[in-house]
């Protein structure tokens, strides 16, 4: 585990000067909050995708039980 403070690299387009500085505590907190939100968004999307896949599989099984061919099931819920 690293304890190094994250840095920002900043380029001034008027002078061409490139500087680096440590992120402020506020910037680090904001980045961590954004990352937590991103993780939550990613999990929510994965859960939603999994729920859709599960519903499709269930629908396909029920249609097959009604006598539809595999091609017909795929045409409906493929």
């Amino acid at each position: 585990m690293t304890t190094d403070t994250p840095i920002a690299v900043e380029a001034n387009c008027e002078t061409g000067e490139i500087t680096s500085r440590p992120l402020t505590a506020e910037e680090i907190a904001a980045a961590k909050a954004a990352a937590a939100q991103y993780e939550a968004d990613a999990k929510a999307k994965a859960d939603a995708d999994a729920a859709i896949a599960k519903a499709k599989a269930s629908a396909a099984a029920k249609l097959a039980a009604l006598g539809l061919t595999a091609d017909e099931v795929a045409a409906l819920v493929g």
Partner: protein, 175 residues
Amino acid sequence: MANPTYTLIQSVTLTTSTATVTLGSGGTIPQNYTDLQILFSARTDRASQPADDLQISFNGSTSSFSQIRIYGTGSGAGSDSNYASGRQIGITDGAGATSNTFGSFSLYIPNYAGSTYKSFSTDSVSENNATGAFQELSASLWSSISAITSISFTSTSATNFVAYSNFYLYGIKNS
């Protein structure tokens, strides 16, 4: 002699791990071009993952962004909108990608100096000698009438860009 229509404004090559890269710090992006294009080659230190999502801010603002995208994962494809609060703009390599490879990225911002909302588009790919190689096209909107004077890039997972990632900002004129 014709006026130059595609001009390199700034280039940055990282020499150490960096959380945030800002082009035009202090609001110094020149306002005398028609459009901007940013090309970059980047990799992050996101552990165990072949790719990492990137996000953007303009003029230090992280609000009023919206986005829609299509993407491929190497084994499937999908689409969604407003991922990561609408600031996600694409993907690049993470630490789990093939060693010493970098993702490629293009961002185009028309009418960046105008006083209407700013639309922009991106295309990006990750580089990985395995199934998990990603591609993405996105269309985004920054609902602000402010001219864009600085642009910052970070990863959505608060990781670092690694050394040798590089960023190029070009200005484009229509005459």
